[in-house]
């Protein structure tokens, strides 16, 4: 964790000196002890046990520097963004746009104008469905999703298809929880207008071959919306390399604030899209006889945005990139392998999904014990997991279960915590035996 911007992240001087990943020693391991100290919330006990937080896939925790960046903005630089001629407004506008540039860097986007700030992944997908979808999806057309989609990348398309009298087509997964590309190809047709899929499944942990699917979709004439909510905190993203048309992620799952998220869209697509919400900030000029709209991204940011959220997200992006992707992936892969291996020693545990490439999460069921009871018992051991359907009811139905226990890993989790989790699941089995 050594960089220039960590020590002096002043919002008054965005300076766009983005952290350079290569500056860190990629061979060094992640210093998790030191990293944990950056997360104030982790230093507490729950029911007498040290908190072991395995619920980052629902919402991660944020490091002190993100909290401090928000705090500093309110203390020193806060005003409304854009068009202000006074000093504070100029400072905060620069910081807000600097955050956009940082997100551009994270995603590898060609231009910062391709980065729209929204409330989160859900809003980003709704924006695309309502703005792009309503104008391109006609009666008889098709939208292709996968069975592993989070409800947020399913319901907006379902609503669109109902409204437009279009057809929602669902691509299946195999028993491992992987998409089968040959099958997916069969579901693509000249009627497919949009393909919407997760980069990483929030329930199975499957990392999908997005680039291959984008190629197939483009050949069929469809655009691709990628839900990157579970990818952004774990793996490097390059939207140019992926060639996806839209990409979305949420700040709160990527060590940033809640209430802020990002929609990336290719410039030519965003430029041709009508506004979604009307209001201040998204116009060029307004009269009672007609209004002309601003260019993207402002066209899609009606009203005062989540200014401190964006600035906090910018800080979270710096934090993420300074971790170093290789070190982070190595660390999290080790945790996931240890967790899968540990759970496999408990005969009553069945892991849902054995994807070829697992990122972020492990979902499992305990024979004879409902996930809610598992969650309550683990909580008494200071272990936070998520239980339920994880907003993927059709996927759980596919695997014949109604709820699972899901443990998700983050940079700050340790192998010791994984061992505690496995031991606690073992005690759950004994308790209900």
């Amino acid at each position: 964790m050594t960089t220039s911007s960590a020590s002096s992240p002043t919002v008054a001087d965005p300076g766009s000196e983005l952290p350079v990943e290569l500056a860190v020693d990629l061979n060094a391991e992640l210093d998790v002890g030191r990293l944990r100290a950056e997360f104030p919330i982790l230093a507490q006990r729950i029911h007498g046990h040290p908190l072991a937080y395995f619920d980052s896939a629902a919402s991660a925790q944020r490091p002190e520097r993100v909290i401090a960046a928000i705090d500093r903005c309110y203390h020193e630089n806060y005003s409304n963004v854009h068009r202000g001629v006074h000093t504070l407004s100029q400072r905060v506008s620069e910081a807000y746009e600097a955050a956009r540039a940082k997100v551009q860097g994270l995603l590898g986007a060609a231009s910062a104008d391709e980065v729209v700030f929204v409330r989160g992944t859900t809003e980003a997908i709704n924006l695309v469905a309502q703005s792009y979808g309503r104008h391109h999806v006609k009666p008889g057309d098709e939208v292709l999703v996968t069975v592993m989609e989070h409800h947020s990348n399913l319901v907006p398309w379902q609503m669109l298809c109902e409204e437009r009298d279009a057809k929602l087509v669902v691509a299946p997964v195999d028993d491992r929880g992987d998409l089968v590309l040959e099958e997916l190809t069969r579901f693509l047709s000249e009627r497919t207008r949009v393909v919407a899929l997760a980069h990483v499944s929030n329930t199975l942990g499957t990392q999908n071959p997005v680039r291959e699917i984008v190629d197939l979709a483009h050949r069929a004439g469809a655009v691709v919306m990628v839900d990157g909510a579970q990818a952004a905190p774990h793996i490097p993203i390059d939207v140019v390399e992926l060639d996806c048309d839209f990409y979305a992620f949420s700040g709160h799952k990527a060590y940033g604030p809640s209430g802020i998220g990002v929609l990336y869209g290719k410039r030519e697509l965003l430029s041709a899209m009508p506004p979604w919400q009307g209001g201040g900030g998204m116009i060029r000029s307004v009269s009672f006889t007609g209004t002309s709209y601003a260019d993207p991204p402002q066209r899609f940011e009606a009203g005062t945005p989540d200014i401190t959220g964006a600035i906090g997200l910018g800080e979270a992006v710096d934090f993420l990139r300074e971790l170093g992707w290789q070190r982070l992936e190595r660390h999290e892969d080790r945790l996931l392998e240890r967790l899968v291996a540990g759970l496999a020693t408990i005969p009553e545990v069945t892991i849902i999904g054995r994807p070829r490439r697992r990122v972020g999460v492990v979902s499992f069921v305990v024979e004879g014990v409902h996930a809610h009871d598992v969650g309550t018992l683990l909580d008494r051991d200071g272990i936070a997991v998520r239980v339920g359907h994880h907003c993927t009811q059709p996927l759980l139905e596919r695997f014949g279960v109604s709820s699972t226990t899901r443990a998700s890993v983050a940079a700050f989790n340790t192998e010791d915590e994984v061992d505690r989790l496995v031991a606690s699941v073992g005690r759950v089995v004994e308790f209900f035996a």
Binding site: H370, H372, D373, R380
Partner: protein, 164 residues
């Protein structure tokens, strides 16, 4: 596991969870479905009434230990009661969990083992799910009842004055 977990998961509860009583459908009578959208749990409650009494009651579905045990205990508690008495018991049970009548728990009989749920506010809906469906069946309502939103019963299941 800590002792306070034993106040939630008492032996009687674990017993009814593992060996639910009156489990299965009834051939005749009313049926109502309960749904907890927070966890996706579903329960079907069957009620056969005769001469203003609950002659038979059963349930089906899969849920957590609390919801299954609560449904099982409920079927035993209401069988043979008049419909009015059964409703009253449901109100009492509800009041004992959400805190509007702390003394209610003393008059619950066997259902008292579920009072530990009071200390776990997020689990209260697990305990009340079957009762919502039971009442709907008594009333002859065939729309599934939900613990959330518009179709939820008039009074809330949320514990008052508690920190979740």
């Amino acid at each position: 596991m800590s002792d306070d977990l034993r106040t939630l998961y008492q032996e009687v509860i674990l017993d009814h969870y593992k060996r639910p009583r009156n489990f299965g459908a009834l051939d005749e009578g009313e049926r109502a479905d309960g749904y907890n959208p927070l966890c996706g749990d579903r329960v079907q409650v069957y009620v056969k009434q005769r001469d203003g009494k609950v002659e038979a009651v059963s349930f089906e579905g899969s849920g957590c230990a609390i919801s299954t045990a609560s449904a099982s205990l409920m079927t035993e508690a209401v069988e043979g009661l008049t419909c009015a008495q059964a409703r009253e018991l449901g109100d009492l049970f509800h009041a004992s969990l959400v805190g509007s009548d702390p003394a209610a728990g003393d008059r619950l009989g066997k259902l008292e083992v579920l009072r530990g749920v009071r200390e776990y506010p997020v689990r209260i809906k697990c305990a009340t799910l079957a009762w919502h469906a039971f009442r709907a069946a008594l009333d002859g309502h065939h729309e599934p009842v939900s613990t959330e939103g518009a179709s939820a019963p008039s009074d809330s299941d949320n514990a008052k004055g508690k920190n979740p």
